[in-house]
């Protein structure tokens, strides 16, 4: 327990001393909001859905950076190896990272919510907003497990590339840039089977009039289980940087 608290404190301290890193990560979704969502969308309820999508996109980017890049860096640095020799195991570190993710998910969503609230006619009751943030927090779990797997199993130099491209691809395939209610077309057909879709449907259902697709929910459970197993295996097999 003490190890968990100290790990959380350590992650927070480190993150807060270089806040610009996280500010930079919010750049892309914020620009997406300003350039595409605001001018194109007139209907307030559509604004709410699009804002939710952008918040999800933000969480994907944050998770990629935090777990993908963060883990890759830790594997490259002697400190990461040192921490692995401490008798804490992966739990305190993971717990700390997830707590930080949840905080970042909320903080990262605030700019999007602010843009929607002050820049458009859209409104949302407080209860629904909180429900939406809760669903967003849930989305951290599968995203974190996915990016952890990548962070631990891929060559650290490649992780940085993947962590940059992956959020964009997953968000696109998951239909974040399309109408959530669309029921035909390529994206609408494949989206329920992709890892980013399930969490998104929960967020959409929390903030708007969205009917959750059962296929997406089953796939959400399947993906979460698959990523959990892969992440645990990758963690145990990891030996840091390898040279051949």
């Amino acid at each position: 327990m003490q190890a968990i608290v100290v790990n959380i404190k350590f992650e927070l301290v480190q993150a807060l001393r270089v806040p610009m890193v996280y500010v930079a990560m919010l750049f892309l979704p914020s620009v997406g909001m300003l350039l595409y969502v605001l001018p194109a969308v007139q209907d307030p309820s559509t604004v709410v859905m699009s804002t939710a999508s952008m918040c999800l996109f933000t969480v994907l980017i944050l998770c990629s950076a935090q777990y993908g890049n963060g883990i890759a860096d830790a594997r490259m640095r002697p400190w990461g190896g040192f921490v692995r020799t401490l008798p804490g195991g992966p739990v305190p570190k993971m717990t700390a990272m997830i707590v930080l993710s949840l905080l970042l998910a909320v903080m990262g969503s605030l700019p999007m919510i602010a843009i929607a609230a002050f820049g458009t006619e859209a409104t949302l009751p407080l209860g629904r907003l909180l429900l939406g943030l809760l669903a967003l927090g849930l989305a951290v779990v599968p995203f974190a497990l996915l990016t952890l797997t990548i962070g631990y199993s891929v060559n650290p130099y490649t992780v940085h590339v993947l962590a940059t491209i992956m959020p964009m691809v997953l968000a696109y395939l998951g239909g974040y840039f399309a109408d959530p209610a669309a029921d035909s077309g390529f994206i609408a057909t494949i989206a329920p089977f992709t890892p980013a879709r399930g969490p998104a449907e929960l967020v959409w259902a929390a903030v708007g009039d969205h009917r959750v697709n059962p296929v997406s929910m089953v796939m959400l459970l399947v993906w979460t289980a698959v990523f959990a197993v892969l992440a645990a295996r990758a963690y145990r097999a990891d030996e840091g940087r390898r040279f051949h």
Partner: protein, 307 residues
């Protein structure tokens, strides 16, 4: 291992760690090749070897960072990845890679939180001469201070066994002395130490037992004195203006009138010297340093006659 050392180990009751027939390959490269190594309680063991000999790979397997390709590594009778084994072990990374943004005190607290009975922050920092730096971010420390902090972290959790991989690399004389004192103090209170070093002087100063690793294999494993004896090398030096060639002298260095010779048989060399009838004064015979033994064992110097 010599019999006396083994007896001491058995007397103390346990091997804290052991490697049994351990091989580690990276692709085609064999870093560690069929190594057997026991680490008994209370011993200060020096691992000596040239760069790339496999010392760090061996240590990384003991601390659970790498897994053997073949064979078995035990730490306190368990898999080194077992958290229970790690509770009693401390390690310092060879390279210094502390998190730049964190303060010295925070790093120590972070490590301490993983152990049930850690040292107090001030106590451990004072012991390593870092007491003044609690509030400083590690990124702002000098190279020597970082190194000392990295080594101090190995001791924070009151371990029974510490692995120190090149602990004093890059330290000045004073910093090295501080570390040596801390290591000796730990060992004096019953702690077990495995130390790798490039500095033979360091191993000679600190270690009781030396394991020489070369190309992934243990080429020697003995007490520091025995290793010096095994190498059988002596340094013979005299003041003489002129010397005939002597059969027993392996390396001859002249500095003014002082002539220094390395030999495998000092007695025979002195006899030869006397028999040659040449005038000399100030005869000195010294046992060879660990350096001589090391070079002889890793076959980078003329091999001494078999001991």
């Amino acid at each position: 291992m010599t019999d006396e050392l083994r007896e001491e180990a058995v007397g103390n009751g346990e091997f804290l760690a052991r490697a049994v027939g351990v091989t580690r390959r990276y692709g085609d490269m064999t870093a560690v090749d069929q190594v057997d190594l026991d680490i008994p309680a209370g011993q200060l063991l020096g691992l000596l070897g040239p760069n790339g000999a496999g010392k760090s790979t061996l240590i990384n397997m003991f601390v659970g960072l790498r897994h053997p390709t073949e064979g078995r590594v035990e730490l306190f009778g368990r898999d080194p990845r077992d958290m229970k084994a790690r509770l009693r072990m401390g390690v310092t990374p060879q390279e210094t890679g502390l998190p730049d943004m964190a303060r010295v005190g925070e790093v120590v607290d972070f490590v301490a939180a993983h152990y049930p009975h850690p040292f107090k922050r001030g106590e451990i920092l004072d012991r390593f001469g870092l007491g003044e730096l609690v509030r400083k971010q590690t990124g702002g420390l000098s190279g020597g201070q970082k190194r000392r902090l990295a080594v101090a972290l190995a001791f924070v959790g009151r371990p029974d066994l510490v692995f120190l991989d090149e602990p004093t690399t890059g330290l000045d004389v004073e910093g090295r002395q501080t570390l040596w004192d801390a290591i000796k103090e730990f060992h004096g209170t019953g702690g077990t130490v495995v130390l790798t070093s490039h500095y033979l002087e360091e191993v000679e100063q600190l270690a009781q037992r030396v394991v020489v690793v070369d190309r992934g294999r243990c080429v020697a494993d003995d007490s520091v004195e025995a290793l010096r004896r095994i190498s059988g090398l002596r340094r013979v030096s005299v003041l003489a203006s002129e010397l005939p060639p002597l059969a027993g002298a392996m390396g001859v260095e002249r500095e003014g009138d002082r002539v220094r010779m390395v030999t495998a048989d000092a007695d025979q060399l002195v006899r030869e010297l006397v028999a040659s009838g040449v005038a000399f004064t100030d005869l000195e015979v010294q046992s060879g340093s660990l350096q001589d033994a090391f070079l002889a064992l890793t076959s980078k110097a003329p091999a001494p006659t078999a001991a």
